[in-house]
């Protein structure tokens, strides 16, 4: 796995290249015809087209949310191309048939596919612009009954499963961007862990936006049946363009009785330049339904990229004694804006949730934690503990904490704490006086600050995440 991150952390923004591949791009704009076109291109069943059209109808009636603590010019949804696929020469049967240009791209990105995937011991699905290109390790996973493939493929191969779960956690009209995604999503990952199976390896998806003027709207659906468990990782990059690009993904997780889903993200979309030009608008809806008793949904995210991040990976704790976790490090520098956090909705009895959020702001950036803890009247014995810490580097940035705590049950217990730290001259001088240089001092302080989150990441991810942060903040301290 470290190869992916090795590349992610390299400087300067290394993923800023564009791959010269003939793309099959849909005309810009959004209307029912475009949606029908996407559906036709993907040879979709009628129920899915209905799903899309229903979402589109709802979207038309909705308004872009104005409450996040972010500012950006009005998005022209008619100026976006909603479908951009590397033009397939024919249907691919093996990795050898993948466009060599594309393979070279992955090599540049350090995506461990093919043999390298086997060596790394990770199963990887790669979403390039909007289309899933290749999924490694499928065979090996199939032996234990795990389905891990692109969602387009799943729609054809496992229509009943997809139909059963798609849109059940994030309904088509859930919010503005989720509705948009539901109308136009082009690909994504489907993952199904059957009863009692502990997934033998980390599953991973790698996302990349390649074409200028295209948006990425992927859809991820993970279902863990009774007693199963899975750890899923995602990484994201995009080329440098001076225009802003929209990424509006939807991720749905469903954990049945005693199932356990761990979802880790290292998000390093292009953040724009030091003047704030360009970069990805990352407007993402991620939600897990802990449906069964004793089920567990755990989100871990390291958010370093994107011009704007608007993202609240959430847990609906419906099953009795189910557990929700959210561990987050969000770093903003230059003119980045992040409004991120989580929602923990406690419905079942004795449900528990933990929130650990670390926000680091540098440059002229603004970093907001926004979190909701809601205890429904039914959630007797529910517990939540939240900790939200902010670190400010320099005096031109902002750190904001907006925790919403709503309690409707007298037998619940909710605790929230927040504090601030800083890296300043005095901290660095103390280290220097012990012979430790600035760079090492910064990395140590940041690592210490983020420790509670990093230890939730798979180990290689954690080591590299530290480096990534060090790189992100280079030059902003001392």
């Amino acid at each position: 796995m470290s190869a992916v991150l090795q590349n992610l952390v390299n400087q300067p923004y290394k993923h800023g290249f564009v791959t010269e591949i003939e793309s099959d791009v849909a005309p810009k704009g959004l209307n029912e015809d475009i949606i029908r076109l996407i559906s036709t291109k993907k040879n979709e069943p009628a129920w899915l087209l209905d799903f899309r059209l229903k979402a589109y109808q709802q979207w038309l009636k909705m308004e872009e949310p104005a409450w996040p603590n972010v500012k950006y010019p009005q998005i022209d949804f008619q100026a976006i191309s909603y479908y951009a696929a590397p033009k397939p020469k024919k249907k691919l049967n093996s990795m050898d048939e993948v466009d060599p240009e594309l393979l070279r791209t992955f090599e540049k990105l350090g995506v461990p596919m093919h043999e390298r995937a086997a060596l790394a011991g990770v199963a990887v699905d790669v979403i390039f612009d909007s289309v899933s290109v290749a999924t490694t390790y499928k065979q090996k996973l199939a032996e234990v009954g795990i389905i891990f493939c692109s969602i387009s493929e799943a729609v054809h191969a496992y229509p009943e499963l997809v139909k059963q779960y798609l849109g059940t956690v994030v309904p088509v009209g859930d919010n503005y961007y989720a509705a948009l995604n539901s109308a136009v999503f082009t690909d994504g990952t489907f993952c199904f862990i059957p009863k009692g199976v502990k997934c033998p390896m980390d599953l991973s998806t790698y996302f990349r936006i390649n074409t200028e003027g295209s948006g990425q709207f992927e859809r991820t659906l993970i279902v863990a049946e009774e007693g199963s468990s899975v750890s899923y990782l995602e990484g994201c990059t995009a080329p440098r363009f001076d225009t802003n690009q929209l990424h509006a993904a939807v991720v749905e997780l469903i954990a049945l009785d005693n199932a356990d889903i761990k979802y880790s993200t290292v998000q390093n979309w292009y953040a724009g330049d030091e003047k704030g030009v360009g970069g990805i608008y990352n407007f993402v809806t991620k939600r897990g339904l802990a449906k069964g008793v004793n089920s567990r949904i755990s989100w871990t995210q390291v958010e370093t990229g994107s011009a704007i991040t608007w993202k609240y990976p959430s847990c609906i704790l419906q099953g009795e004694s189910s557990v929700g976790e959210f561990y987050s490090v969000a770093v903003t520098n230059n003119y980045q804006q992040a409004d991120t956090g989580t929602k923990m909705i406690h419905i079942g009895k004795n449900t528990r949730s933990t929130i650990v959020s670390k926000g680091i702001s540098a440059g002229h950036s603004n970093n907001s934690y926004r979190g909701l803890v809601r205890i429904a009247p039914t959630a007797s014995g529910a517990r939540n503990y939240s900790q939200c810490d902010s670190m400010l580097i320099g005096d031109q940035c902002g750190a904001h904490t907006f925790p919403y705590i709503q309690v409707r049950n007298q037998n619940a217990k909710v605790e929230h704490e927040a504090s601030t730290s800083k890296i300043g001259e005095d901290q660095l001088f103390y280290f220097a006086q012990r012979g430790i240089g600035n760079e090492e001092a910064v990395s140590m302080i940041i690592n210490g600050f983020c420790k509670d989150v990093f230890q939730q990441l798979p180990m290689e991810f954690a080591v590299e995440a530290t480096k990534l942060l060090g790189f992100k903040l280079e030059g902003s301290v001392g």
Partner: protein, 262 residues
Amino acid sequence: MIHQDSKTILEVSGLQAAVDGVEILKGVDLIVKSGEVHAIMGTNGSGKSTFAKVLAGHSAYQVTGGSVLFEGQNLFDLEPEERARAGVFLAFQYPIEIPGVSNSHFLRLAYNTLQSQRGKDELDPLEFEDFVREKMKLLEMNPNFLDRGVNEGFSGGEKKRNEILQMALLEPRLAILDETDSGLDIDALRIVTNGVNKLANKDNAIILVTHYQRMLNYIEPDYVHVMRGGRIVKTGGKELALDLETRGYDWLGVERRAPASA
């Protein structure tokens, strides 16, 4: 201990320094030789803490004149971390708290950085653990200090002990203890000073910066310097400290109208 043939470790001549354009040090002269213990005394604002920080290289202070040679080398050519690696150690008056960074990790990194600088072997975490535990006994410290964040939630006394522990690990040529006695109760003062005494030897030197004579009951200075208005205005033996204790600073009467800055 004063020896005629000792090597000069520190040579300060006419040192002037300012903070935010306000001059605080106005010509400090001082020679420190190996094996010696110097006490620099003075009231608040006399410039003694500024002197300590300037030697360590704090960026808030601008050197505006004079020179400092450390073992013959121009100290101002070195960055703060280079000075530390060369053997200049400052025990801080207010050690910084660094949440999340474990004390053992920090100590080991500092120790190994110096070891590699000196061309010696670095210690792995297990070896270091044994090594540091031994040093901690010197300061009667509880080993669980190692697992806590650097100075995080430490009491004043614990912070000061942690400073001297670092001195024990880093074995500096010149240790500057800035108001290390402040905020210590009598037991802690005894432990800390005892630690310092054990670390003092014929090859290193110590500068004690202090307001009160109390610490000098435990660490016997070879020289006592009185600072006032940014200069050393009087130098004597340990008896000078006792005079100051009984008579205060006013009898010195020098530069009474010095600017009230710093």
